[in-house]
Amino acid sequence: MKLSTRELATLAVFGALWGLVEISLGALLKTLNIPLSGVVLAAIGLTIALVGRAFVPRRGSTLFIGVIATLLKLFSLGGVILGPMVGILTEALVAEIVLSMLGRPRRSGFVLAGALGVAWVLLQPFVTGPLLFGRTVFTVWLDLLDRGNQLLGLDPSAAIWIVAALLAIHLAIGAVVGWLSWDIARLLQVRLGRPVTSTNIL
């Protein structure tokens, strides 16, 4: 895959947008200890990445946007924070894998990529906790049950229901993100007067 200069510049703009959102809103939400802050950030970030994918519908473009955003996150106010950086990169990677497997851009692909990308927010601590922060899967699991208890009012003993509900919420939000990204991309392309070809989503 070889991207033109124009395509690289377009992807860099979308990556920079995602990165700026992470640096500004991300720092704010984390400071305020707001539940679901990771979901909010992933939803916004994936929207940007998916719209970017629509503008450059080439294999690897979503991941490229994620890489740019990750690099920008290095300049976050709180210094180098590994967790969110891994989060951005893996969300972009998950979306990239889905979109690449499905081939030609279509709404269903965007919905699936958004859903799985946001769902990754739920699963990521189980990977990064033990690998990067010396935590055990057991304590990450306890955290998950506590979050479910706080958000849904479910007793931590109802573990299956908590996990099912949280997963459903993440998937649903991600699916809406994918659906909206498709429409936003279409709208932007019309507004910007981009030529409609078989390679873009119109």
Partner: protein, 154 residues
């Protein structure tokens, strides 16, 4: 276009309201603001500590982000509370704003990991609350602040 904007607006409001909904335990220690306490609880055990109670225990120093803190090791705290660390699977630290974090007991028993009640140069900063965890070298969110309770999970 209008429908799309409306949908985005509704989604944003839903997400933000979900975010704002769950900060349940604002200032659990307001009743004792002048003399805040830390509760160690779990099973049949429940013991409250004030800063002076903790100062009576052996003091240890630990540094995080270029700040040196004074506090007690978790091992010393558990011993004083009459809890056998070998019976503990995890400890849940609860902050006054509702934030909580579970620690594996093996992660907390190192000599340089402390529950801090002061800085080397004075009191804890206001946003540290009365008590905070100090895990040198660990990620920021593992260094929980504004602690009001440590729940023992056996």
């Amino acid at each position: 276009m209008k429908r799309l904007l409306l949908l985005i607006l509704v989604l944003s409001i839903a997400l933000l309201s979900a975010c704002a909904s769950a900060n349940p335990t604002e200032d659990q220690n307001t009743s004792s603001e002048s003399n805040p306490t830390l509760v160690i609880s779990g099973g049949e055990t429940s013991k409250s500590y004030t800063r002076s109670d903790l100062e009576a225990l052996p003091a240890t120093q630990a540094a995080f982000k270029d700040v040196t803190y004074i506090g007690v090791t978790i091992a010393a705290l558990l011993e004083d509370a009459g809890i056998d660390p070998t019976q503990v699977k995890a400890i849940k630290a609860v902050a006054s704003d509702g934030y909580s974090l579970n620690y594996d007991i093996s992660q907390l028993l190192a000599d340089d990991i402390i529950l801090a009640y002061a800085r080397a140069d004075g009191d804890l900063a206001e946003d540290d609350g009365a008590f905070r965890m100090v895990l040198p070298g660990a990620e920021g969110k593992l260094n929980a602040r504004m602690l009001v309770e440590l729940q023992i999970i056996k």
